[in-house]
Every structure is written in C-alpha cells, then in structure tokens.
Amino acid sequence: MANKDKVIKLQILAAKCRKNVLRMIRAGGHGHVGGALSAIDIITALYFEKMHVDPQNPGMEDRDRFLLSAGHKCLAQYAVLAERGFFDKAILDTYGKLGSVIPGHPDMHKLPGIEANTGSLGHGMSIAAGIAMSAKMDGKAYSVYCITGDGELPEGSNWEAAAAAAKYKLDNLTVFVDNNQLQISGDVREVMNMEPIDKKFMDFGWAVRTIDGNNMEEILDALDALPFEKGKPNLLLCRTVKSKGMSFAENNVAYHFWNASEELLCQAEQELDSCIEDLEKQLESNSK
C-alpha cells in the first residue's frame, strides 16, 4: 500500500495542477476541461512518482515516455509539465494566444516534454507501441505510458496497436483508458458501446487492471505493480469522473469543452484552494 503522506502530497500536487488548468482556461477563455480533469491524477502520479524524466533535459536518451493519445486532454499534461518544472509557468498564460507553444493539441516541436503530435484520435497507442518496440529491441529499460480516452476506442487503429503490442510482448508499455463515460455527444456506451473494455484488451493478450483513476492511492498501487504480467502489455482501465475537482461540472458533458465564465473559474479555484488547505492540514496532523 502506498505511503499515506506520499498520497496526500500527490493529491496536493494534483490540485495545484488542476489550478494550472484553470489558469490556462482563463488565458484562452475556453478549453477541453472535462477530459483534462478526469485524467490529471494519473498524469500527476506518473510525472511526480513513476517516470524517470529530467525537466532540465527533456530529451534525455533513456527517459520514460508519456503520450497523450487523447490529445485534447493536453491542458492536463501542460499543467503537470509546468508544475514539474519543464517550462516556466508564465507560459500557461499564453494559452489561446497567437503563436503559443501550448496549442489546443500538443506539438512536440514547440514544447519540451511532449513526445508526439496527437489530437487526431487513435494515433497514440501505435506511436507508443513503436517506442516500446524500439526499447525492447535495444534492451533498454525505459517504459512508455499512454492515455487514451474511452471515446476514442472505436477508432480501429487502436486495435491494430493492441494486437501488435501483444505480439511483440510489450510489457514496457502501459495504456490508461480514461474511462469517464462521457464524450461530446453523450454517454460513451450509447454513442458506441465498447464494453467490456477490460475483456477486449484481455482477449487481445494484455494484462488488465481496473482502478478508480481519480484515487491517488489506487493509482500508485497500480503503478507499483507494473508490469502486471511478464511479456504482456499493460492496460489500466481507469474509472474516472469527467471534470473531476470542479463540483458544478462533474459528470456533466457540457464541460467537455468549456467556454468559461470568470465567476465559475473563481468558484473552481476556491474549491481547489480549500481542498489544498484541507490536505495540508492532514499532512501536518500526520506529522505530529
């Protein structure tokens, strides 16, 4: 089981990263907030706890790689990269501005720490698999992590990558399905049912676990257990809540893409501030 203080510290970081997301939304006036906030706990845990990366040397040869197949969740990745020190937080205020290095979908040639130009759905898993194949081929120890949305699973190219990853025994590849159950047109199971997701990946030859993807303790325990099974790619089915952390927006598809008002931004920030305050108090009382 993950250490309690470590969990709280990461929860605080995740809340700070959520505030970074809001900072970008304020700068640009809008953004894909729902999916960013459902995935951000996983990304926080990866960058602060799991991945071997160096913010001062983002292109370090044997770094672990993180790819966002669901590129529209990039506000979450930008938020975490900034918090982890990959770039100056002032850049967050350029979101939506002409020539910004943090566009609405990530660009590896603009921002340090981005590994692939995603945005069109169903690309990330193949690219991630290719990187993992290269690591295996060269006997390198680095790992590759990739987040897909549940709404992008109907893209056939995902299943091409799923088959290849199993054939090439990519146990150094972990795919997280950010299963927040909502896409722009509604419930993912109604738009196009891909359930049971876990069984589908198992049938493709993957080792699968299901967790609450907004529960830091469960995330850390799952990351600690990687690889789940030698010789099999890892699928972490993460049950998440869309817009997690903004009470008025949780599980509401209207916040898939949010045209934000200052009033609601302030409310969300206050909620996060009090959340951070509570967590810090817990940390303090634990240390007594």
Binding site: A116, S126, M137, E160, A164
Partner: protein, 313 residues
C-alpha cells in the same frame, strides 16, 4: 549492364539489405508485404529488425513513427495505395507533422496492377504525398537508380515517399549517385522539352528517339524527384524551348505535370501539356503494356502526343 531486366522490388530490397549491414538503425516493417517487397533476405539476416505486423497499415505507420522518435530509420513498403491513401492521416500527422525519419515505399505503383483494378492501382500517390509539408517524393527510373535512390533516401534525414513499379524493367543508365531534388538532361533538343519520371522514362526515351528520326528535336529531362521539384532546371528548359510536355503514370492532375505547371506559371511564352491518366477509375487489362498504350503512356503514345502538342501550339 544496360538493357538487362531487373525486378524493381528486388533492386529495392537488395539495396536496403546491403545498407542495413552498415547502418544498424535501419528497421523494416511488413504488412504481410515484406517478401513481395524484396525483404526475404533482410528478414533472414536481421530477424530482430524485421517487424511483421500483418495487414494493419495505419498501425504500422504510427509504430514506425514512434520508433523513429528513438533514432531508428523505419522502412515500410507495401502496395502503393495501401501505404499512401489508406493510412494517409497517419502519414500526414505521425510522420509529416511529427517530422519523423520514416521511409514509405509504394510498390506496384501506377497501373502496374493492370488487371487487379483501381483498389490496387495508385494514380493519386504523388498528389496525396505532395500535400504533406516536408515530404520528399522519389520516383526512380531504372533498377540501378532505385538502388541509388534507396541509399539517398536512407541518408536523408526526414520523411520520404518513394514509388516503384513491379514488372521487370531494363537498366537504362550507368550507375550514378542519386541527388534528391535534381533532374537530369537525358537528351538535348530544341523543339520541345519532355519531362518524364519513374516508369515512364523508359518509353519517353524511345519516343524521343523515334521523333528524332522524323526530324523533331526533343529535349528530354529525367525527373526522379517529384518533390522538391528541380524548379531551376524546369524553368531553364522552359526558357529554352517554351514548350513542355510531362509524362507520368499518375492522374494528369496533382502529379509531376501539375507541379511543373506551377513552376512555370509566372513565365511568359511557356505552354505545358500533361500526359497521364484522366480522372477516372482506370480500365483494367491482364496486359500492363496494353493498358499503358491505352492511356498513351507507351513510346508510341508519347510520340504521338508530342506531335499533336507541337501541331497545336
């Protein structure tokens, strides 16, 4: 030796396999297409660098791009429409937009699959690939040039699409280094400039020979790079003859002819005629040469088109 016939796929596969001995970064992806792309030897010699993924072109393009981010030089060859039109957006984003060092090779290009029909013919690959910023497009003209172009393609850092045909083709030229972006003057002349690429150069040479006997002086340019086009050479020859005729095994639109037309669009007293396949799903025939003749892309057809062009302007 000049005149010997060689299977383009074998020339290509042999070249990659030879280069792979020196360059460990080269890896090969197969979509159930490796052996027919000339990679039987490569697969035997370098099994750990040969990835048989089955028929999943979209996935392969993504995986190749991912591998390239780690410094590998992935080569992916299959039937031309299946590496261009089929996974187009993966080529555009994962290789083009991501600027990855992946080499895509479309074989059995153009009308090669004469009787298999339009699903297997590629008459739009120059057009599709030329729309991708930074994509280099090669169409070598004979077996030795295929070998040299393969070498140049591997040495070049960045995305490349190369197209090759299928039936055996004769060696036309002595071996010479392949320079990306350069055309060659194959024959000097004064009445008209003929610009050919890829498989059509062989018939274009014959057409120019035949016309010479009739007193028509053809300036013939071989253009094995479609993009970046040798604009300097095109404009120089346009100035000299004022009349350009292009020939390619591709749709008339959006290929070599269109790029040449663009290159001379602001020049006075220059006219361009473009030979190729009109916008249609092409006829089929069990005989590839018969199909080329139907579309006036054989030596006789090219010579006749040149005469018609000269009579009309």
């Amino acid at each position: 030796m000049i005149g010997d016939y060689v299977d383009p796929r074998k020339a290509f596969g042999k070249a990659v396999t030879q280069l792979a001995a020196e360059n460990e970064r080269i890896v090969v992806f197969s979509a159930d297409s490796g052996v027919s792309s000339g990679f039987a030897d490569f697969a035997k010699k370098y099994p750990h660098r040969y990835f048989e993924c089955g028929i999943m072109e979209q996935g392969i393009v993504g995986m190749a791009a991912g591998m390239a981010t780690t410094g590998k030089i992935p080569v992916f060859c299959a039937i031309a429409p299946f590496v261009t039109a089929r996974p187009y957006e993966m080529v555009r984003n994962d290789i083009g937009y991501m600027r990855q060092n992946v080499k895509i090779v479309g074989r059995n290009c153009g009308l090669t699959y004469s009787d298999l029909g339009s699903t297997h013919q590629s008459l739009d690959d120059f057009g599709l690939m030329s729309l991708i910023p930074g994509m280099v497009i090669l169409a070598p003209q004979d077996p030795l040039e295929i070998e040299e172009a393969t070498k140049a393609m591997i040495e070049y850092q960045g995305p490349v699409y190369m197209r090759i045909g299928n039936p055996k083709i004769p060696i036309l030229f002595e071996r010479r280094p392949f320079v990306i972006g350069k055309g060659q003057l194959l024959r000097d002349g004064t009445d008209v400039t003929l610009i050919s690429t890829g498989s059509t150069t062989r018939d274009a040479i014959k057409a120019a020979d035949a016309l010479a006997k009739e007193g028509i002086s053809v300036q013939h340019i071989g253009m094995p790079t479609i993009k970046p086009l040798d604009i300097e050479l095109v404009r120089k020859t346009a100035k000299e003859t004022g009349k350009i005729i292009t020939v390619e095994e591709h749709y008339i639109n959006n290929g070599l002819g269109s790029l040449v037309t663009d290159a001379v669009a602001d020049m006075k007293n220059v006219v361009v005629k473009r030979l190729g396949v009109p916008e249609e799903y092409a006829k089929t025939s069990g005989d590839y040469r018969e199909l080329l003749a139907y579309y006036h892309l054989d030596a006789t057809g090219i010579a006749e088109s040149i005469k018609e062009f000269l009579a009309a302007v």
